[in-house]
Symmetry: C2
Subunit: 207 residues, 2 copies
DNA sequence: TTAATAAGCAAACGTTTGTTTGGTTATCGG
DNA sequence: CCGATAACCAAACAAACGTTTGCTTATTAA
């Protein structure tokens, strides 16, 4: 008695289409990826894809949303399991962020690689989705016990810029999400300690 | 006696074409920018542009090269005028890098916003150009007097990622290249001091 | 078994794309 | 003034694009 029967009819290729789209959008960008590219990757015909979405921009938006969902869940889960220490929480979130970016599915990478301005019809939607996700890091930085004259926004944007650049140079075997998160956060953390302990340095170094 | 006479016949629209292309490539991406877009921005006909370059990819490559040239010259000039102190030199280079990115011409931004994978026919060329430029930062980080157990590559890539992300959130009036360069480099520098001075911190913080 | 519908095929639509071709105008050295 | 050529126009090309339409197949509930 064979059991591998689809329970519902919608156990179809929708997922495979989204997966292929995520990979192609990240590899070649949104505009350079054609519907025919996605069709070829899923062994379907171009027109058939439109049963599952109503436009190419809708497809991108759906994949983008899935990317935000996955990276958000990754971070939220990490935070739920993290300690109360603000620095440890930031590091846990960063590791989760990097892990989602590098998990091989490319969903999360869509969020950081596809510029909203590349998708004119969905620009505001994509920006809103990204901002909602990144608000987590605003909170995390607000909780840090750092000197009042330190610019938390710049620190946050520095970290986000650094993390979102990682997929460009990441090499499996050499780097790991946990190792990189540790190095990034250590840099920010030690910078606070160094700033507190330092009262005279060559000109141009003080805050 | 009117002097504003063109000295040579090639005082033409080549420059205007390149300028418009740089702006459009950054604003909408390479693939989403059509030859007709550039023609419209320069008050020319699409076919006329081909007198000045032989293909759209060639145009992008030329603009990219000009971007690399400008940001390189910006950094090289800053380094020539900088002191001998390794940290001050890194900060001067970073300020020059950011200044070039934000100078309004969009040439330098092409270098950090256009992914080589978006231009299949010129991918290797673009990567080589970018790597040659970034080699300056490899040298700058090699010259830093930091602990031997610190990963200079990660520090460098962290800085480059942070800097190249700046155009996304930069706001004139609020931020300045000099101010941001100072904050970025201070973070890296204080981190070294903090690491040296710290011997016991909560778990997960040590190098 | 049958009616309903989910899922996809086959083929084409009109548009936009990068690019080419042949002719036109303006500027220049001689 | 004239031949040369730099610079551009006008018009079209084939290919690729996103998308639509009508039809077929497979699965399900009754």
């Amino acid at each position: 008695m064979i059991e591998a029967r689809p329970k519902t009819r919608s156990n179809n290729r929708r997922e495979k289409i989204f997966d292929a789209a995520a990979v192609l959008f990240v590899e070649k960008g949104f505009s350079s990826t054609s519907i025919r590219d996605i069709a070829k990757a899923t062994d379907m015909l171009p027109g058939s894809l439109y049963y599952h979405f109503s436009s190419k921009e809708d497809l991108l938006t759906a994949v983008f949303e899935e990317g935000v969902k996955r990276i958000s869940e990754s971070v939220d889960t990490a935070l739920a399991n993290a300690s109360q220490d603000p620095w440890e929480r930031l590091q846990a979130a960063s590791e989760a962020h990097l892990s989602a970016l590098l998990d091989g599915s490319n969903y999360a990478q869509v969020v950081v690689r596809i510029l909203p301005s590349d998708v004119p019809g969905a620009e505001e939607t994509l920006v809103l989705l990204r901002d909602e996700y990144e608000s987590r890091f605003i909170s995390l930085f607000n909780d840090l016990p750092i000197a009042s004259d330190i610019d938390r926004s710049v620190q946050r944007l520095m970290l986000i810029g650094a993390m979102n650049h990682v997929p460009v140079w990441f090499r499996k075997g050499r780097d790991t999400p946990a190792g990189l998160a540790h190095k990034f956060i250590s840099t920010l953390r030690y910078a606070q300690i160094g700033a507190e302990m330092t009262y005279d340095l060559p000109s141009g170094v003080k805050a």
